[in-house]
Subunit: 378 residues, 2 copies
């Protein structure tokens, strides 16, 4: 069970300051939610993750179902005990994999978004690698090719075995190139699965419903109204959010204005720094993204002066910390020179140090936004 | 500058309890010395490395010369400042690479030692990939194929730029299959290079001479006497140490009995757990080895009940810590199940957690030996 209290509402936007109480502690919102796909923040120990200020993590149901399997985690006392993460935790539903292993995998997820490829998914189309059925989705395990079936019933069962504080209803995350008819049909499926998810939900975990609807105003509104009317504890907002911040803000406003105000809203898979203020101003309370962690593993540091690519030789002679104003232990201890050396020499702890800094920086950034809401500046 | 004080000598063996004082603090000896090849303990931050109880690290001159280059490190204020390691530090001379990139690389280092391959290196033989000259060794950079020349002069110059507390004279580390004549000729080279190293040594860093001589009693004794008579601050013992612990103990006794008693002795590149007591009983004060860190990255934990291979599925259901009696933060926090899951899922922090435990365990193990010497039990 969770409770959500709105401490302050912005007068200038939909932004709000809140506190989300869970059985594993409180989350000050708005909050960035680092991703712990397989029950670990990649390249960091949880001890380090805590020191970055991470309040709430999200793990992936689909991935944990494959490895090590929810039965093992259940036997070990659930995901908190298994991993030793003692703060709030959510699991996604596997709905994102309907996209990423389906049309997304086929069409190339990034490319579509950037290039407006001319591809179009029409009503009745099926991805090649998975099959979307009435009651769920037939997957192939990316690890061993084994057949898997996950629908609302299966997703909830797995998530109940995992035992996170917050779980999600199973949904179809649609592709940015799905056309109106496809998307209209898809939200019918997502809505049916939302009700099914609630039906199968027996545990005391909080459950969020997921709003879809792509880039189509009426479908987003329809989905928000439908999902918002169901007895969920909070709401996820999934799918695409357009090409720019303005489009994202608009799409979010369609959704947010049609969700119950008193319940928490989580934006699924969005979290570049430049997305944060628009998302928060649109009324989002929490949001997860792999950006700070994945970019770290590719040698990229986020700083107040922009992104730094530590693989570049220029940084080998740079005595500055990653970010001069950052108070994280990496910036207090190490130079760009040393971290660049480690990254170029393929030392594992380069990823660790960069992940630490990026997460700290993202968490600090949202912390500053919380202060701005509090002081009435946002 | 360093000083070495022997606190207690064993009555039953050559073992001694000591304290090695360096500009960056003291080392309680006997001590295990973790390897920080490129200025980082692989997979660990230095903050973590400190918490494993590591007292003294050894970095590799050859590797740091290639990446990032000693000039960059010098500009950054030396290796301590560059890396943020604030405890004692030594750099090897590059002499091991004369073996590992020479005959060792050609013949397969591990295989020779295990299989007694019938290979033999005779006087006048040269490895194919490097050339051993009068004044040093012609290498090819393993990174870009560039020609490199390192002799005693170059090695000392590089090590002075790096600025560790303790540096080593340049030597030829001979192969286990080098015959008597080759080894006899080789120690002449090593001895000449030892004198050259001293001649070029201008800094206030402590410098250790390296004893070689392979498996040959008279050559080991000759080398120990020669190197031991030079004004070094301590001594490294390099090369091979036979097939078993008994052979190692015997070879070490030939050397140790011919070195000045009051100076510290470092065994280069030896450090399986089972080697520690024989080495310490033979009068060794410090020893380095990649075993705990490299094995960790391959999923192996060292424990009181033997080595565990965490890649095995059996550990997925094992609720025990890596070692029941271990007091390290990994054993206090995590189960074998979780670490096995992380390792099998190729999560980077599996390597981090295993490296932490292994180093802590090795350091604890030597700490126990120190207690046994103190109480007169060794």
């Amino acid at each position: 069970m969770i409770s959500f209290k709105i401490l302050k509402k912005s007068k200038k936007s939909r932004a709000r300051l809140g506190v989300l109480k869970t059985p594993h502690g409180e989350v000050q919102t708005p909050a960035f939610v680092p991703v712990a796909t397989l029950g670990a923040v990649k390249a960091l120990t949880f001890d380090s993750a805590r020191r970055t200020g991470a309040q709430l993590l999200i793990s992936n149901t689909f991935h944990l179902h494959l490895r090590p399997g929810e039965q093992i985690i259940k036997k070990m006392g659930g995901l908190h005990k298994f991993t030793s993460w003692d703060r709030p935790l959510m699991t996604d539903s596997g709905g994102f994999q309907v996209f990423s292993l389906g049309f997304g995998g086929e069409h190339g997820m990034g490319k579509i978004l950037k290039e407006k490829s001319g591809l179009q998914i029409k009503k009745g189309d099926q991805p090649k690698t998975i099959k979307i059925r009435e009651n769920g989705v037939e997957f192939r395990s990316p690890i061993n090719g084994e057949k898997l079936f996950i629908g609302p019933k299966e997703s909830i069962k797995i998530q109940e075995s995992l035992g996170a504080d917050i779980i999600y209803a199973f949904d179809e995350c649609t592709s940015p190139v799905a056309d109106y008819e496809y998307t209209k049909k898809s939200i019918e499926t997502t809505h049916r699965w939302a009700k099914e998810s609630l039906k199968h939900h027996k545990s005391k975990q909080a459950i969020y419903g997921v709003v879809q609807g792509g880039r189509f105003k009426d479908l987003r509104i329809e989905s928000a109204k439908f999902i918002g009317a169901l007895p969920f504890d909070g709401f996820g907002i999934g799918g695409e959010f357009g090409d720019d911040k303005k489009a994202m803000s608009q799409m979010l406003s369609w959704v947010v204005d049609n969700l119950p105000e008193e319940k928490p809203r989580h934006l699924l898979g969005i979290g570049y720094l430049e997305d944060m203020i628009p998302a928060i101003k649109s009324g989002v309370d929490t949001f997860d993204c792999i950006v700070p962690t994945r970019f770290a593993r590719h040698g990229i540091a986020f700083t107040r002066t922009g992104r730094l690519d530590l693989s570049k030789t220029i940084f080998l002679k740079d005595k500055n910390p990653l970010d001069k104003k950052c108070k994280c232990e990496v910036c207090k201890t190490h130079t760009r020179s040393y971290i660049s050396h480690l990254f170029r020499a393929k030392e594992i702890n380069a990823m660790e140090l960069l992940t630490f800094h990026n997460l700290y920086y993202f968490n600090e950034y949202v912390g500053e936004i919380r202060k701005l809401i509090k002081s009435g500046k946002i």
